[in-house]
């Protein structure tokens, strides 16, 4: 694997000599987090600095019929050894024909339509140390075939090699308590992380409806966590079962309304559950000058109820998005996720703005309000934080 990777990188560098067909982009971003309360675990910290770099190289030839994409990623974290990590987000070769495409290598695929959570999206593992909102993904080795037909697009995947979910380390914050110990990782499959997973998806646009149906067989991206002892410490041990997952995602686009639904049925020997996220987004255009205001409401459901591995099992998310439509692309998103039956909620405010041509300043503030009876969010009760990022883009 490592050797073939080097060969591929080497050949990339050789091919990149005709400069006009190679394009580069990327960013280097510094991040500072300030926590407003003392940590629950004394080994955690009150503030943290880190830096991340993600250059992207893209080379195409034969008039764009073939391309190679290479996106390495590295983060250095001041305190958390688990958050200091490197990954290859993409290193893939694609061939594009008139009614089919294929991709070989490490790549990233996105499925779904909702905003609060992305439950249908299963191909890539979540890079949870990057962002506890689960927005960041690890690169996934794959062979992918896309068939383009009048009746829709069919995506077929063979996924050799499983990526473990990343979890914050001893000093990491915010993190689940007790912490997850990756040395205790176990698999249902005797092939462990070598199990070859399979997936298929059909997607189509029918007038104002975009629809996707997906099937997945293989190692669950979401581990089941159980308490265990590790060097005398109580920790959580991740267990990855083999699952069959069926997923549906639909969006209806009507005027200023977007109606969205994602639903999955997950079936395994150790856990079976159903999850759904659905709701709407409505945009008020030109509320102040040329600024738009979007209202997002989504309901989050998990059939496991309070036993769910996610704190969002019967919650309502309300989001307010302001897009200024100015030269600096300024925007802000205020979001609240609240449990329907207890008094736990999570409030977050995110805002960003371009500075000059090459810089971007982003801010995020999160506040956790945790009901005494709520076990799932208890870990984060003292983890209110403010995060500032300054990124250089090229």
């Amino acid at each position: 694997m490592k050797k073939s990777l080097l060969v591929l990188i080497g050949s990339l560098l050789v091919m990149s000599s005709p400069a006009q067909s190679v394009s580069w982009r990327g960013n280097v971003t510094i991040q500072e987090r300030l926590f407003l309360k003392d940590p629950t675990d004394p080994r955690q910290h009150g503030n943290n600095a880190s830096i991340v770099a993600q250059p992207e190289m893209y080379y195409e030839w034969e008039g764009g019929k073939q391309n190679i994409s290479f996106i390495p990623f590295v983060r250095l974290d001041q305190r958390d050894d688990e958050r200091t990590h490197a990954d290859i987000r993409e290193l893939s070769w694609s061939y594009i024909a008139r009614d089919y495409e294929w991709t070989l290598g490490i790549s990233k695929v996105y499925w779904g339509v909702t905003e609060a959570r992305h439950i249908v999206d299963i191909i890539n593992q979540t890079d949870l140390v990057e962002d506890f909102n689960q927005e960041e993904k690890l690169g996934q080795p794959m062979a992918r075939l896309v068939l383009i037909r009048d009746w829709g697009t069919v995506d077929l995947f063979v996924l050799p090699g499983f990526r473990e979910r990343t979890f914050a380390g001893v000093k990491g914050r915010p993190r689940i308590i007790p912490r997850v110990e990756k040395n205790l990782t176990r698999y249902e499959s005797s092939q462990q992380d070598k199990h070859v997973d399979l997936a298929a998806r059909w997607s189509h646009t029918l007038g104002d409806m975009d629809i996707g149906l997906s099937l997945f067989h293989g190692t669950s991206r979401e581990p089941l966590l159980s308490p265990a002892r590790y060097n005398g410490e109580i920790v959580l041990a991740p267990f990855y079962q083999i699952i069959d997952q069926a997923g549906l995602d639909i969006q209806l686009t009507r005027g200023s309304w977007l109606w969205k639904l994602e639903a999955i049925n997950l079936d395994g020997n150790y856990a079976k559950y159903r999850r759904a996220t659905g709701g709407f987004e409505y945009t008020f255009y030109g509320v102040v000058g040329s600024a738009d205001m979007g209202l997002v409401m989504e309901y989050l459901y998990d059939s496991r109820g309070e036993l769910a591995t996610t704190p969002f099992e019967d919650d309502i998310m309300v989001g307010l998005r302001m897009t200024l439509n100015d030269e600096q692309s300024s925007d802000a998103l205020l979001g609240i996720i609240k449990d329907r039956f207890n008094d736990s909620y999570l409030i977050s405010l995110e805002a960003s703005r371009r500075i000059g041509d090459s810089w971007k300043l982003s801010m995020q503030a999160s506040k956790f309000v945790v009901d005494k009876l709520d076990q799932s969010l208890k870990s984060f009760a003292r983890d209110d934080f403010v995060q500032i990022e300054l990124g250089y883009y090229f």
Partner: protein, 260 residues
């Protein structure tokens, strides 16, 4: 008697065209002629530099390249890909414009590899923070307006027709537009946009028309001045290329993901 009747008939025939054609019909005829002259180009691509200028004269630039596919009988398909500023490099916008129903629009966000269907009701919203609205950037189809010829006159020494057009779509940001069109090439030289309160909002000036494939005229520069906020946007087009052999496949969701 018969001769008189015939004479009257002949007279009336010769007079009829002069006053039977209304200003509305004449306006529509001009729009149809302009559309007919610009039919058959097939597909095109071009590069674009967008220069945004605020009231204080500060400038910011963005580079976009795009491609279009002519769709006979409906609005065209288009894709725009952003090259700068760097933080939005690779972001791509796909649009299927329609004459009688809302456009279909998708946005590709490269950081997430996510294709998002977006609401297209926002016709009057600014395109990329510029003084151009989405509806100013989308393909101009005859059925999108009703027309009225106002007068013929001279503009910068050129013979022009002046027509008023009223958007059919109730979500348009304009009550009306006044178009000064070149009588030789049937392309607009100047357009005034009136907002929903019917006051003058913006003026668009198109210059540097060049002919491609010995038939189709494209402007090199479009300057939009907003009279109400003092801002302006200049579009500079280059590298026009026609007959690239594009098909629907170059304007689908899969092609959006690898648009460069």
């Amino acid at each position: 008697m018969k001769k008189i009747a015939l004479l009257l008939l002949l007279l009336s025939l010769s007079i009829t065209p002069a006053w039977a054609i209304t200003a509305e019909e004449k306006g529509l005829k001009i729009a149809q002629k302009a559309d007919e002259l610009d039919t058959g180009w097939g597909d095109q691509k071009q590069s674009l530099v967008m220069i945004l200028r605020n009231k204080q004269g500060q400038e910011s630039r963005r580079q976009i390249h795009g491609r279009e596919l002519e769709v006979i009988g409906d609005g065209d398909k288009s894709m725009s890909i952003f090259d700068t500023p760097a933080d939005i490099k690779g972001t791509a916008f796909l649009s299927f414009t329609h004459v009688n129903k809302p456009d279909d629009q998708w946005l590709y966000l490269p950081a997430l590899k996510r294709v998002k269907r977006i609401a297209s009701k926002n016709k009057s919203g600014p395109f990329m923070g510029s003084e151009f609205a989405f509806e100013d950037m989308s393909s101009q189809e005859v059925g999108k307006y009703t027309y009225k010829w106002l007068r013929d006159e001279k503009l910068d020494g050129k013979d022009v027709y002046v027509i008023e057009r009223v958007p059919v779509d109730k979500y348009s940001g304009y009550t009306r537009q006044i178009v000064w069109g070149d009588k030789v090439i049937y392309r607009p030289l100047k357009v005034e946009f009136y907002d929903r309160k019917n006051s003058l909002l913006k003026t668009l000036t198109l210059t540097g028309y060049k002919q491609y494939l010995d038939k189709y005229w494209r402007a090199d520069r479009m300057q939009m001045v907003n009279h109400q906020n003092g801002k302006s946007t200049l579009l500079i087009f280059s590298d026009y290329s026609f007959k690239n052999g594009y098909t629907d496949r170059d304007f689908d969701r899969n092609s959006l993901k690898r648009a460069r």
